[in-house]
Symmetry: C2
Subunit: 390 residues, 2 copies
């Protein structure tokens, strides 16, 4: 089993502003992000040999073939990938596999979701879907169970959670493409209305629209492209599924996510990373809720199990800290247009590693990690990118 190391590189990236984009359709968003990425790569649309688009929600008019239509990319394969909240990063994974296979040399991975302005359709009622999906509680209630459990087991409290919100909103306040660009105080977070106890409004990410795109190619082909001297390498990419109904499994205790643990382990192995805190310079971590970030950074091995509360409180995950987490502002500030999120994180990492972050720039960033968690803690994806000289 070979990894992706030294076989797949990122040639260009693009993304829209994230937010309540009432005046933009899903098609507009996809076109804006993809054409920005093409321009960034210095690649013509006709050079793209295959495309993958990550999108979670159905009924929004985007199939593989229809994405190609909006982008006017005819005559090539164009596939829609769906994998809960990891849809965007899974599109990226499939695109990487295609390049690594040698079947394609220049491909597109993109993700989009429009959560606003879905008209009478609204968002699909996941809870009402049939089969095992019936067991899905709404996301805030689901993650609230993890929070109350950690309050009990680790002695965390609403302040522990609030530290994540304050940090990410501070980071996001510097990012021109974020949905929310105002810092919040701990007091504001603690006093915010409760969505699902103990998660208040500032513990939850928002409903936002957005799109992001990456052009992926080989180490050979990049030599003749715009970013030949500052391209970004794909070191690892792993996805792991765990059960769709973890609460039915006696081993599951709501203090961690097996899918994140597995995906992290697989990705570290692929990338040859032994000590993530020492070797990785920044992390974009799935923070759909504040509790999610706390548990995921433990699961990714950035700190020991049970210690994420203190680890964050001590400023280790802040910009300028030991290992900055979500310097972009994370899902807390960008919202979570589902298919777009994974690709947005990878765009952020790419620009950070190239020293051209749009928000706060992590100094001399060499290796970055992006992570998504989706479903009922069902699927986790971890991608590790590195600067050209690593």
């Amino acid at each position: 089993m070979k990894g992706l190391k030294d076989r797949v590189v990122i040639a260009g990236v693009g993304y829209t502003k994230f937010g309540e984009l009432w005046d933009k359709s899903q098609e507009d968003l996809l076109v804006d992000a993809v054409y920005e990425a093409l321009e960034d790569a210095g690649v013509e649309p006709k050079e793209i040999e295959a495309g993958w688009v990550g999108i979670q929600y159905p009924f929004t008019g985007v199939s593989g073939g229809s994405a190609a239509e909006f982008l006017k990319m005819y005559g090539i394969p164009f596939t829609r990938v769906e994998n809960f909240c990891a849809s965007g990063m899974d599109a990226f994974r499939n695109a990487c596999l295609a390049v690594a296979s040698g079947v394609h040399e220049m491909v597109l991975a993109c993700g989009v979701e429009k959560l606003m302005d879905q008209g009478s359709r609204g968002l699909p009622d996941m809870g009402g879907a049939r089969g095992v999906m019936m067991q899905f509680p709404p996301a805030p209630s689901m993650f609230a169970l993890a929070a109350t459990r950690c309050f009990e087991v680790y002695g965390w409290n609403k302040e522990t959670l609030a530290n994540v919100a304050v940090k990410n909103h501070e980071h996001g306040s510097h990012h021109p493409k974020a949905h929310f660009r105002k810092p919040v105080t701990k007091e504001q977070v603690l006093k915010a209305p409760i969505i699902a106890w103990p998660l208040g409004r500032f513990d939850c990410c928002a409903m936002s629209d957005g799109a992001a795109a990456l052009i992926i190619t080989t180490p050979e082909r990049i030599k003749n492209l715009k970013h030949k001297d500052d391209y970004v390498k794909v070191l690892a990419n792993a996805i792991s599924v765990h059960t769709l109904a973890p609460w039915l499994h006696p081993q599951f205790d709501f203090t961690g996510f097996p899918s994140t643990q597995q995906a992290g382990k697989m990705a570290y192995e692929q990338a040859g990373i032994k000590d993530p805190v020492k070797e990785i310079d920044l992390v974009e971590c799935h923070d759909c809720f504040t509790i999610t970030e706390l548990l995921n950074i433990q699961d990714l091995g950035l700190c020991k199990k049970g210690e994420a509360g203190d680890f964050v409180a001590e400023g280790n995950t802040k910009y300028g800290g030991l290992i900055p987490v979500n310097v972009s502002g994370g899902l807390k500030c960008f919202g979570h247009p589902i298919g777009a999120t994974g690709c947005r994180m990878l765009v952020e990492l790419t620009k950070q590693l190239q020293g051209r972050a749009d928000g706060l720039q992590v100094k001399d960033a060499k290796i970055g990690l992006a992570h998504n968690l989706g479903g009922a803690f069902t699927v986790a994806s971890v991608t590790i990118l590195a600067r050209q000289d690593v």
Copy 2:
């Protein structure tokens, strides 16, 4: 750009009976097909390193991660692929790319759809979806436009169409897994109620449930597996997207499908096929409507443009003819559980090339081609498989 030739092989296949399977859930169907394929391959579930599932319709509880749940395949990546009627074959394509990349050695491609028994949800109303999908007429009306056009341009008539229905129902009457297993007479076809002029009930494929699965591996790994002496090779796999609204394009004249033409051309190039009629022994061709098969066999170069009517009438595409098309009975007899169809065709080809077809066995079949057409003639997929000794 490398092809898949000599890099990807099929280790095992499985599929359910197709039909109105009221007593089986989508999850049941997927499990039945996949575990049959695993048994056929002589591979344990835990040996599967990654999975792809093709499924078109949303709201049916199958995401990438949830498919893994039903199959109890945890800890691996599992991706849902959606690409209109080519969803199943696109799942297969992505699985092949993963094996060709060397990142995975043993993977699963499967497809499922349950069109019956969707409860109050019913089937999504594609025509009511937003954006460009608004332009989608129902499938029978869409393909009826092609039929009336060909009546005008080529002098075809309802009998030309009926020949396809009679042929495919004759073929399917021998297949134990088909939904419809009775031959029909030309008279029956001609007298059947009209769905969308000139397409009558026997010109249209049915709403059916079903699932199909393939285990895919490398030429090295197959040497230690059950089918080491009669495995099937993947010679080519191509997908091509054309526009989502061909009727808005002045060049589009409803006498052929550019996506099929492009995908066919790409696949022949990959497989090194110069003369498809001479080199290919059987074709599973997308016959959602009788007119679709007629146009697709032209587009695939099995006969000249405008000559498919005579080509079929003369018996060339019959079992025992020059180049048998849909010896399984095709979509006409299996119905079209969308995500399942592409995989079902590949299961059929695999068994044919191994000399163990469940229905009519094409004598000494060495090379087979499978084809899907989806969307508004938007996306076409072509896969070419070959016997081990080719």
